[in-house]
Symmetry: C2
Subunit: 414 residues, 2 copies
């Protein structure tokens, strides 16, 4: 989460992509010294008039002040600026936390020439410590004049806490025969669980999409991406995904209530981008050495399949078995059973890396562990579960549970 | 769970108690070589005619064959023998697993002079491997002739897998002016979660209690003990708690549907014994260095308080913080919020070791971390959460999450 120590880069890291400018988006970073020293810890984005916004937030019942701020701001559906801080999450900081949000939004609004309610805020880091507001607001004027269209890599770095690599993704989509662009960055490596995660994700597009359909597409994309990944089953108080549409692209008007046919390709590209970023977060899971994909089929419904997939992905015993390169399918059976969803032991099949180990309630006759053992030694492990009951299916992703997780989280604040 | 390696004894271990005989109960152990070599791995108990039985089992949807066997046997409400094996759980073993149960019960029934359905079975250990039935049944005749009333310590050792110390407890209770005895042993150190745990618990009393009230009291005692503890949030396929009442005590008749007033003291003693054993299981949690007690008050209901307490007790981030002796109350706030139960951040208070760190949504003014830091260095850590909403309260117990857990579970089968 935040100690600012030098952790080795995750062995599952992927390279940061080429991120071309998104028409209308200006961004930049600064050192405010909120918690970290000698690194950028504030990120700002500015958007042109007419930019619409969509957001999805943590379901944690004790959200941070910035999450509450964004929920309110989202009612207007318009955005002109975003301010993100790393190192202090401004969570459980009472009235002071709310005041920090108000003052930060006011300062950014003056610079951007907009209303405070058109400024979005996000913070990540230590919970329960007051955020030094003056350091933050004091850094904004110089940051604002230096905003530029090509600072995505810098922004992707400045929002990190315990992450070991910056996370970015870009997709193109067609709307009414015109190409539009979506770019996004994310952070997160622990406290990652269903119903979002301790993660932040900021994406922008030059598409011209009203707030209502933008929100619908974002919600769906998050359900299919960030809500399918888990690192440690803990759910942060600060999870935030924001999407800004600057409307600078040349395509024709999208009706206020959307047009599924017109937006089909955009929705697909958005889902793809969000899944890309969500998987980068899992690849940077605290202590992760292996990426685990859990594929559930044959469940009574898609919802049931999703719950079973998450139960397997969240099981500490499955995750430690993968860390130990042990194809322990008994633990997978246990995790399927503990989900509480319809399951019939005698119809259940479990496989790893394309090899079925157990079928119909027992070990496969003549089961040869060799190909499974070889698969377990790789960086990406695939677990398959077939319930044999219906047509429901779902996929979830997680990482293994290693000594690295204990190292990182057993000495976080001190 | 089962590798039979020599793990260092948990620093939280408690001494095995003096366990006097329970009138009517004979017990013993043997080496069947099912998985372990050079240690006792089969335990048998025999009870006199008229013994009643009660049982509570895992809610895992993929239970082991012995669990299904016991559920059936329990319908008769009568017991004459118990056979327990350690090293192989006989789970996910299909038809072969069911046959092992049938043959074991038949062999034990012949020795005990009863029906197979009066024999109870439990197994713990590796999932998905066939249990070598002949080794088990072959060990029973010699074991049966050597049964004696004082072998509780031997039995407590023979049922262990990754446990580092044997677990036993004894209580006395009064029924109708006569003293009765309850004795119990348990095993379990991982895959411990609500809705029981990978744990086995066998208790016996000389009280003369019909099966129906015995079952009611056992269910309640388990709800207040084993269902309040968690080691790793995983739920085993084999959890079993059995209670046998031999009826050898001198107290008067208890009606078939019970008599709450007559049984009040027995119910209290049973709850106390079960909580004692459940806490011994947590004290032996895989890798545990600290026992954590989570006390939730002020919730909207007892059920809500229980869910919040378990959410805190199951949070990997809270458990690693305790391992690191870090009074990270922000993570406690997170875990309260993720429970999904009614919570108002601005009424929430969090304390450790009797010191409130945060009240009413923010840090306590002038909060002095010194006494909290000192408390965190001890072996027993107390976390208090007050929701400020109602009168619901609950307590849960867990242990910290350490490198030891990864060591034990990352190399279990191999």
């Amino acid at each position: 989460m935040a100690a600012g120590r030098d952790l080795p880069v995750s062995p599952l890291a992927v390279p940061f992509p080429e991120m071309p400018p998104v028409a209308g988006v200006l961004l930049g970073t600064a050192q405010a010294g909120i918690r970290y020293t000698a690194r950028e810890d504030v990120t700002m984005m500015a958007f042109p008039a007419g930019t619409t916004a969509a957001g999805v937030f943590t379901r944690n019942k004790c959200p941070g002040a910035p999450v509450e701020w964004c929920r309110d701001a989202l009612r207007g559906g318009k955005a002109r600026a975003l301010v993100v801080t790393a190192g202090n999450s401004n969570v459980f900081t009472g009235r002071a936390g709310r005041e920090t949000c108000e003052r930060t939004a006011k300062a950014a609004a003056e610079l951007a020439g907009c209303k405070p309610r058109e400024v979005f805020l996000a913070s990540t880091g230590v919970i329960g410590e007051r955020l030094p507001t003056e350091k933050l607001t004091g850094a904004l004027p110089a940051l604002h004049v230096a905003l530029r269209p090509d600072a995505w890599p810098e922004a992707a770095r400045a929002i990190l806490t315990t992450d070991t690599f910056p996370k970015g993704a870009v997709r193109k989509a067609m709307i009414g025969g015109e190409e539009v662009m979506i770019a996004g960055i994310a952070k997160g490596s622990g406290m990652i669980a269903p119903d979002m995660a301790t993660m932040l994700c900021f994406a922008a597009t030059d598409a011209k999409i009203p707030a209502v359909p933008l929100q619908g597409m974002l919600r769906r994309a998050v359900d299919l991406s960030f809500n399918r990944v888990t690192v440690d089953s803990d759910t942060s108080t600060s999870d935030t995904v924001l999407l800004f549409a600057t409307g600078q692209a040349k395509h024709g008007r999208v009706p206020a209530d959307g047009d599924p046919r017109l937006l089909r390709d955009f929705a697909r590209a958005l889902q793809d981008l969000m899944l890309d970023l969500a998987l980068q977060v899992v690849r940077d899971g605290e202590g992760a050495q292996k990426l685990i994909r859990v594929e559930v089929t044959g469940a009574v419904s898609a919802k049931s399949a999703h719950r079973i997939a998450m139960s397997v992905a969240n099981s500490p015993l499955v995750k430690t078995a993968v860390a130990g390169e042990d194809a322990n399918w008994g633990r997978i059976v246990m995790a399927v059973g503990k989900a509480g969803e319809p399951a019939d032991r005698d119809k259940l099949s479990v496989g790893v890396g394309g090899t079925w180990m157990a079928k119909d309630g027992g070990v496969v006759p003549g089961y040869d562990e060799a190909p499974v053992a070889a698969h377990m030694k790789g960086r990406e492990v695939e677990i398959a579960v077939d319930l044999g009951l219906g047509r429901g299916k779902a996929t979830a992703w997680t990482c293994d549970l290693t000594h690295g997780y204990i190292d990182i989280n057993g000495s976080y604040r001190s």
